[in-house]
């Protein structure tokens, strides 16, 4: 298992380096001038030169990349040239908000989607199965920003059951959870459908396998067969998808962050890209890419722990 994890970690590191290098090249190909965006006409040539120097843009690309990588290895992502604050600090301020939102969304989606898919597989062909299929596809089909807006209008503005904006008072867990409900539903609703469909399909496949028939022949209770034998195997592709889902949600959270005026890494990154604030863009992308890679690594490890065959196959 250790060899497997080490091998996956090395691949993850390689992916991270590649992603950062690609992005580094891309952001310097796109025209734009951060000083002009941030300062407007007040951006004098002296100020523009000053800001370029602060961002290291006066250095060759390779030097800039080298400095960034060396700094990142020490946990130093540079300085925001406008505010003078450390990029690491700025990114880490925002990251927990997005992580909490993503985990709440994916957690809620799993809690609903897995039983739903399992139930649909067990009751295959029934009206409940067909209803689940329709509801799942509907959840997948509706864009999350539309869900977000209507939830906000309906439950936030019209009925005022939930706050329309913000992330709640710092230190007040109940208030923060209250603020989390609508954005988490908006972000996670589509995943309920995905997970339900995936679990159903996997369960149907697994239920046809010989070891399930053998278990039935031994007279094991149906509940034990489903939970301990079928679901355990059927969850493997779901875990992989959840790993990818967490990664994509880190950036997909942008809609929820904008609609609900929540702080978060997506909004930070979006504004930094528009303003050509390169140090923030690089720092935020490095962190989100890191989490994406980590989440896929974690899903690989969980898969391997659930299915020893994977450890053997991928360890070779």
């Amino acid at each position: 298992m250790a060899k497997f994890v080490l091998r996956r970690a090395l691949i993850s590191l390689l992916i991270l380096c590649l992603a950062v290098s690609l992005l580094f090249g891309m952001i310097h190909l796109v025209p734009g001038d951060p000083a002009s965006v941030m300062l407007g006409p007040r951006a004098t040539p002296e100020l523009k030169a000053e800001l370029a120097q602060r961002m290291g843009l006066d250095q060759p690309l390779a030097v800039q990349l080298g400095r960034f990588v060396a700094g990142a290895a020490r946990g130093d992502l540079g300085i925001d040239p406008f505010s003078g604050r450390r990029v690491t600090e700025i990114v880490l301020e925002q990251l927990p908000h997005t992580l909490v939102l993503v985990l709440a969304a994916i957690g809620g989606a799993s809690l609903l989607g897995i039983p739903l898919g399992c139930f649909a597989a067990i009751r295959r062909g029934s009206w409940l199965d067909r209803l689940t299929a329709v509801v799942s596809v509907a959840f997948i089909a509706i864009p999350s920003f539309v869900v977000a807006l209507y939830l906000l209008l309906w439950l936030g503005v019209q009925w005022r059951w939930f706050p329309a904006i913000g992330a709640g008072e710092a230190g007040n867990i109940a208030d923060q959870a209250h603020h989390l409900v609508l954005p988490a539903i908006a972000l996670g609703l589509g995943w309920v459908g995905y997970i339900a469909r995936l679990v159903r399909a996997s369960m149907l496949e697994v239920m046809e396998e010989s070891h399930i028939r053998t278990a039935r022949a031994f007279g094991l209770p149906e509940r034990t067969i489903i939970v301990h034998y079928a679901l355990r195997i059927a969850l493997l592709p779901t875990v992989t998808i959840l790993g990818l889902g967490i990664g994509s949600m880190l950036t997909g959270a942008l809609f929820a962050e904008i609609v609900f005026s929540r702080p978060g890494i997506g909004k930070l990154l979006y504004e930094a890209v528009l303003n050509r604030n390169y140090p923030i863009v690089m720092g935020a992308v490095l962190v989100t890419t890191g989490f994406f890679v980590l989440s896929t690594l974690a899903s690989d490890v969980v898969n391997a722990s659930l299915d020893p065959r994977l450890r053997v196959e991928q360890g070779r």
């Binding site: 001038d33 002009s36 407007g40 040539p45 000053e50 604050r85 009925w159 329309a164 913000g166 904008i258």
Partner: protein, 543 residues
């Protein structure tokens, strides 16, 4: 000499906004569609707030990046700074650009380059940093222009040389050259707030989002990134007590989010988008007021006179007469904004009453001018524009106007950051290809800031029209040096006439800034629509 005016405190309590659950299905659906349309079109941003009890909740169109005057980037940060720090002067809350005394008991211009001041005794910095002295004024002003401090806002201080301290409370501000914008921009604006030398040096000489001291009616309490900044009543403030116990300033850069938050009762005052004015007016949230305030921005169609296709002034004049500005304002501003007569908005020294070109234009004259110039029709031109909803609508209306006289304009939309580089000389020869473009600049509290970008020295920087006129440049220098307001006014009026006569500009509008607020508060706004936080009051008679 300027004298300070005093506003009586209003000791009243505020009432929670009534819970509204009786919204009609129709209005709900309309707002839904509006919100969706707004999100699809890409939101912009502005300011807003709300009050419950003694707390005012307000929206800001940006998050705080820094509260150090060295590096504040926006008027949104300046709005907060002007509530937590005193300045020598400040703007009156009466919607005019007239300054009044703030921390200064006396302020006067001694000659073209010197300003004398005397502070009111007994004004205290909070957090135990003692009384405000003339040395704090020296520190606050000189650090802004100190090259070692690398201030992003150094230009606001103009040619400031130094501040001479005479005694504990008085001193003289000395400029290197005359700078007529010193009072409205430096002494009264966000760059001119007063900090305690001892406090700032105790944190290493500069700070970001945690001001070490405050000298205004409100004090900084907390800041949560991308969420809100909380101000509280400053116990060290010796002037008229702050009207609210706390002000919560929410960072919301999307107009639609702000509007929904206002409707949900989470804000008391909020700048709304222009397209939402009509729906709000038809279905106003209860106990609310909507005001469409003027904005200090300047929107215009620019023409690069050094591009061969536009080198003939008759072609540029034809384009000026071809554009139907009324149609632009109807389509892009929903008929709320007025036609501008130049970069200087109404209410500011130098504003022109009328422009020489009719708002509707004169297509027949445009056709004649094109014929005289021998332009082969259809004349094909490019129109560069920032890819924002309003700019794209404006460009489309201009495209339609031009087509009527035989000009085919190809709209080239770019994101704002890229767009802002198209006229730059230091980035290559791309500026030579620029023909028509839609541009807008935010103005400040002095006409200097509206006009300085069009001098010959701005070629390749911000003067993308490559407009060059010796008389314009001379008048610009005169207007900056003189303190005679009528002379300045005449100079700026003439400069705008010269701009228009060059054919390089078709002035469109100075824009508007709609603000909606609860009737439980009495807001205060600058003439450009930005809030003056310290002058917000609870409404009288609110229980």
């Amino acid at each position: 000499m300027l004298r300070c005016t005093v506003h009586p405190a209003l000791p009243v309590k505020l009432r929670l906004p009534q819970r509204q659950t009786d919204e009609s299905r129709r209005s709900f659906l309309r707002r839904s569609a509006l919100a969706l349309a707004g999100l699809a079109g890409g939101g912009s941003a502005r300011v807003g707030w709300s009050s419950r009890g003694a707390i005012l909740h307000i929206r800001n169109y940006v998050d705080v990046s820094s509260l150090d005057p060295l590096s504040t980037l926006s008027l949104g940060e300046g709005m907060i700074n002007r509530a937590i720090h005193a300045g020598l002067l400040r703007f009156r809350p009466d919607g005019s650009w007239k300054p009044q005394l703030d921390a200064a008991a006396h302020f006067e211009q001694l000659d073209a380059t010197r300003y004398g001041f005397r502070l009111k005794p007994g004004q205290m910095f909070n957090n135990g940093f003692g009384e405000m002295t003339a040395d704090d004024v020296k520190f606050s002003f000189e650090r802004m222009v100190d090259p070692a401090m690398q201030s992003l806002n150094a230009p606001d201080m103009g040619p400031l040389d130094h501040v001479a301290v005479h005694d504990r409370y008085s001193g003289t501000i000395v400029l290197r050259t005359p700078y007529a914008a010193f009072i409205p921009v430096a002494a009264s604006g966000p760059a001119g707030v007063l900090l305690s030398r001892r406090a700032v040096m105790s944190v290493g000489g500069r700070f970001t989002t945690q001001p070490p001291c405050c000298s205004g009616p409100y004090a900084f309490k907390s800041w949560q990134a991308q969420r809100k900044t909380v101000l509280e009543r400053n116990p060290a403030w010796t002037g008229e007590p702050a009207a609210f116990a706390e002000i919560h300033v929410y960072a919301m850069n999307d107009d639609k989010a702000g509007e929904l938050a206002f409707e949900a009762g989470q804000l008391d005052c909020c700048q709304i988008s222009v397209e939402s004015v009509d729906p709000f007016e038809r279905d106003m949230p209860p106990e609310s007021t909507l005001r469409v305030l003027p904005s200090g921005r300047n929107y215009w169609l620019g023409m690069n006179q050094e591009n061969p296709a536009l080198a003939d002034i008759r072609i540029r004049r034809a384009i000026q007469h071809a554009v139907d500005v009324e149609a632009v304002l109807e389509a892009a501003w929903f008929g709320l904004a007025r036609v501008s007569t130049g970069p200087i908005p109404e209410g500011m020294t130098g504003h022109r009453r009328t422009a020489s070109i009719a708002p509707r234009g004169n297509p027949e004259l445009a056709k004649r001018l094109l014929e005289e110039a021998g332009a082969g029709l259809p004349l094909r031109l490019t129109l560069d524009v920032s890819a924002r909803a309003r700019e794209l609508t404006t460009a489309q209306v201009i495209q339609w106007s031009l087509k009527k006289v035989g000009i085919e304009a190809e709209i080239r939309a770019q994101d704002q950051s890229t767009f802002l580089t198209i006229g730059r000389e230091d980035l290559g020869d791309g500026w030579r290809d620029v023909q028509l473009f839609l541009q807008d600049f935010v103005g400040m509290s002095d006409p200097y800031y509206s006009m300085t970008w069009f001098t010959t020295s701005q070629h390749g920087l911000w003067n993308w029209e490559r407009f060059s006129n010796a008389e314009f440049d001379r008048l610009h220098d005169i207007a900056l040096a003189t303190t005679d307001e009528s002379e300045r006014g005449r100079a700026y009026e003439r400069m705008q006439i010269l701009m228009e006569e060059s054919g390089c500009y078709r002035f469109l509008t100075n824009g508007v800034m709609p603000q909606i607020f609860r009737n439980t508060i009495q807001p205060a706004f600058r003439p450009d629509g930005y809030a003056i936080l310290r002058d917000f009051r609870p409404s009288t008679g609110v229980a």
